[in-house]
């Protein structure tokens, strides 16, 4: 089965095709839409699992399967940077190795659960088939991204997920805010993708191939200089910054919450936004080569983590809090990758996919129960109304806070450990503080939503109901994964063998830092204490003294407003880039109207002027000359016609006089 792994992305493509072309109006029944929509990612998941199991049977060094389907872009001869020329050729080829396997499992597995959940969540939406078309298309693109064996095909998937993200954020396109959020996501991503594309081109220009294996061989051969690695690494990272919503291109992600909640869970939490982390891990040799590039990755990741966590502290929209949390957690992953521990970034990516999907989906369940209410100030006391959603949400919150025993604890600690070891201690401190903030905003959410006074309207309260089984069962599965997911990477200090890292070791080469177990326990203890402090403060603020937050907000009004208004970044971007672009557009439009159109109009006027002058010339001069000549002839002939009397005798007289004159002349001259 392993050699047919390239079918993994094609199943959802087929599902998207069927639902996109036929849809509900053709099938009449939702059941058929469901079968194609949910069945195809499930097939992908089954195939990914089988392929991964078969991959595991191979010896560790040989865990790489490539499938070259056909030559996709045949080109001529390309001249490279060093002057040598190689044939330009890009294959449509896939590759399956531990890194792809992890991503494929996460994407198809979590994707499948979210597809199932969507059946319940989107059940009453008129755009049901369209929704699943987009969702399947997204799964296809994402699987393409993670399974491609070269940067070019990866870029196709990269753009594909961007497109699907745009389509799904603006799914309720009749809402202005949703349509604008979609546009914003798309445009901000364009900025990043531009850098990414430049990076791809520069890679080809340097290496002469876009295949990951060739690039890695090139780097291993020591052909790549550090400075070039820095340039390529930074350019590719610009793409990752856009796609993974890091500073300064994170602004689209909070707005992306306008989309349906399962979309936020799948695209804007579990899979798409982590594509940047996957890319950095995929190019790990490149980043390991360049101290600057990996340093930038780590610093951007660290700053993004604390920066967006600080904004998450004071937001009131349940989905936006989770969105800021996502940005913050991806910052963590970047921090791990940049610190040289790519496997910890991937580990956190995996566990984050579980618990963040869980959090989003249970938030969706809450929103569903409260008739689409998203403001946490209008919730509260929901614990007893939502007996399934509450415990799974709690598990998700504990996992993301890094409470020992749950998945988030293991992955987060590994990242913090690598940050501590990387020599940038201040980033480790940032990471620890962020862990506390994460715990605080998650439990603020829990206390405000599930505890305390019931602050919703009577009308809404009347309709509160637990979600149907089709929504709660995926939640329970994800909750289970959030608990046990961490044990695949159980660190040695806790008696494990870090199976996850050794699984990835054939793809990711990282230095192992020897560290004593006691230091490791100490670091774990510090981050756990930080998280517990966060939870305690949340308890203090929202359970013990519910009036305390308001007092504090009153006291530190400037800081609170700054955080609540999200550091005014949207306003700043609005005033500079957006306003600037609009002004430029207006200026160009005015320039167009005044100068370009002006030239055209003046030319037209001039042509018309010469035209009428030419008409005048024609009428007056040419026609005038002819008319005058004609009337001159007329007048002249009027004089001469008088000679023609019609009296023959006059003529005869003239003849005779003439003869007389002629004779006289001949005779006498």
């Amino acid at each position: 089965m392993l050699k047919y792994f390239w079918l993994i992305p094609l199943f959802p493509a087929f599902g998207a095709l069927v639902n996109g072309l036929f849809g509900i109006s053709f099938f009449k029944k939702k059941r058929w839409v469901n079968i194609f929509a949910v069945g195809t990612p499930f097939l992908s998941f089954i195939l990914s699992s089988i392929a991964t199991l078969e991959l595991l049977k191979l010896p560790a060094g040989n865990r790489l399967v490539k499938a070259i389907l056909f030559e996709w872009v045949p080109g001529g001869i390309a001249v490279l940077r060093d002057g040598s020329s190689v044939p330009f050729s890009i294959n449509l080829s896939f590759q399956f190795d531990p890194l792809s396997a992890v991503m494929a499992l996460v994407v198809s597995g979590v994707g499948f659960l979210i597809h199932v959940y969507s059946i319940g969540y989107m059940g009453k939406d008129p755009g049901y088939a369209r929704y699943f078309t987009y969702l399947n298309l997204f799964t296809f693109s994402m699987l393409l991204l993670v399974l491609s064996s070269n940067l070019a095909l990866m870029f196709v998937g990269w753009e594909g997920v961007g497109l699907c993200s745009y389509l799904l954020i603006g799914f309720w396109y009749h809402k202005d805010s949703a349509a604008n959020a979609g546009k914003k996501a798309f445009i901000v991503n364009r900025v990043g993708d531009f850098g990414f594309l430049l990076g791809i081109l520069f890679t080809f220009f340097t290496v002469g191939s876009l295949e990951f294996t060739s690039i890695n061989e090139y780097i291993k051969g020591g052909h790549l200089s550090t400075s070039l690695a820095t340039v390529i690494g930074l350019l590719l990272f610009v793409g990752a910054v856009g796609k993974s919503a890091q500073l300064p291109l994170y602004v689209w992600l909070p707005d992306a919450m306008e989309g349906p909640t399962p979309v936020s869970a799948l695209i804007h939490a579990a899979t798409m936004v982590t594509a940047g982390v996957y890319m950095v891990s995929r190019m790990n040799l490149l980043y390991s080569l360049s101290e600057i590039a990996s340093g930038v990755v780590a610093v951007i990741g660290g700053i993004t983590a604390i920066y967006s966590a600080s904004m998450g502290l004071v937001q009131n929209d349940i989905k936006r809090i989770l969105a800021y949390s996502t940005i913050s957690q991806i910052g963590y992953m970047m921090l791990g990758c940049g610190s040289g521990s790519y496997s910890s970034g991937m580990f956190h990516l995996t566990t984050h996919a579980f618990f963040k999907a869980l959090l989003f989906l249970s938030a969706g369940s809450v929103i569903h129960a409260l008739s689409d209410e998203m403001d946490i100030r209008k919730m509260g006391g929901l614990r007893k109304y939502l007996p399934v959603t509450f415990p799974v949400f709690l598990i998700g919150a504990l996992a993301i806070s890094g409470i020992p025993g749950l998945s988030g604890f293991f992955s987060k600690d590994e990242i913090l450990l690598s940050a501590y070891l990387s020599g940038r201690k201040w980033i480790w401190i940032i990471g620890v503080i962020t862990a506390g903030m994460t715990a605080f905003y998650m439990f603020r959410l829990i206390f405000l939503v599930f505890y305390g006074k019931e602050r919703m309207d009577e009308e809404v309260k009347h309709h509160i109901h637990e979600s149907p089984k089709i929504m709660t069962i995926p939640l329970i599965i994800l909750a289970g994964l959030s608990v046990i997911g961490g044990y695949i990477g159980l660190p040695e200090a806790m008696g494990g063998r870090n199976w996850f890292r050794s699984f990835l070791s054939s793809v990711i080469e990282e230095e192992s830092h020897p560290i004593s177990h006691s230091t490791e326990y100490l670091l774990m203890g510090i981050s756990v204490i930080s998280a517990l402090i966060g939870i305690y403060i949340a308890w203090l603020f929202y359970i013990k003294n519910p009036e305390l937050p308001e007092k504090l907000a009153e006291k530190f009004k400037a800081l609170y407003t700054l955080l609540y208004r999200k550091y005014y970044v949207d306003e700043i971007y609005g005033a500079t880039f957006v306003r600037g672009t609009l002004n430029l557009g207006e200026f160009l439009s005015k320039y167009d109207l005044a100068v370009i159109d002006g030239i055209v109009n003046r030319t037209a006027d001039a042509t018309r002027g010469t035209g009428s002058a030419s008409v005048l010339f024609d009428l007056k001069v040419i026609d005038g000359a002819l008319n005058n000549m004609a009337s001159g002839f007329g007048k002249g002939s009027n004089i001469f016609r008088k000679v023609q009397t019609g009296l023959i005798q006059n003529y005869l007289l003239a003849i005779i006089i003439g003869i007389f004159i002629i004779i006289t002349l001949t005779l006498f001259i």
Binding site: F640, R641, K642, V643, Q644, T645, G646, L647, I648, Q649, L652, L653, I656
Partner: protein
């Protein structure tokens, strides 16, 4: 007979004919004047034929008489056709070609 005398007589007859053509209004008279001019010319021919002792002049005079007959016949036809249309012989009424 002196040649001068004959030429002078011929010239006088010719001149009388010219004057008749130019001055008279009656078509018949004009036709008669043309005959006079022809005969004046004939007299000239004969006079020189006699003077030079050459018969060619006389033969030419006979030609002229013959042609004059034909001309007179045609002219009379035209005059009668004109008179039938206009009820007059007056040449002043023949102004169809006036410009």
């Amino acid at each position: 007979m002196n040649i001068n005398f004959m030429i002078i007589v011929g010239s006088i007859i010719f001149l009388i004919g010219i004057l008749g053509v130019l001055l008279r209004r009656n078509l018949i008279i004009i036709l008669m004047s043309i005959e006079l001019m022809l005969n004046g010319v004939n007299l000239n021919f004969i006079a020189f034929a006699n003077y030079l002792g050459d018969v060619k002049g006389q033969i030419f005079a006979l030609f002229v008489i013959a042609v004059a007959v034909a001309e007179a016949a045609v002219a009379f036809g035209l005059i009668i056709a004109f008179m039938r249309n206009k009820d007059t012989f007056n040449i002043d009424d023949m102004t169809l070609m006036k410009g």
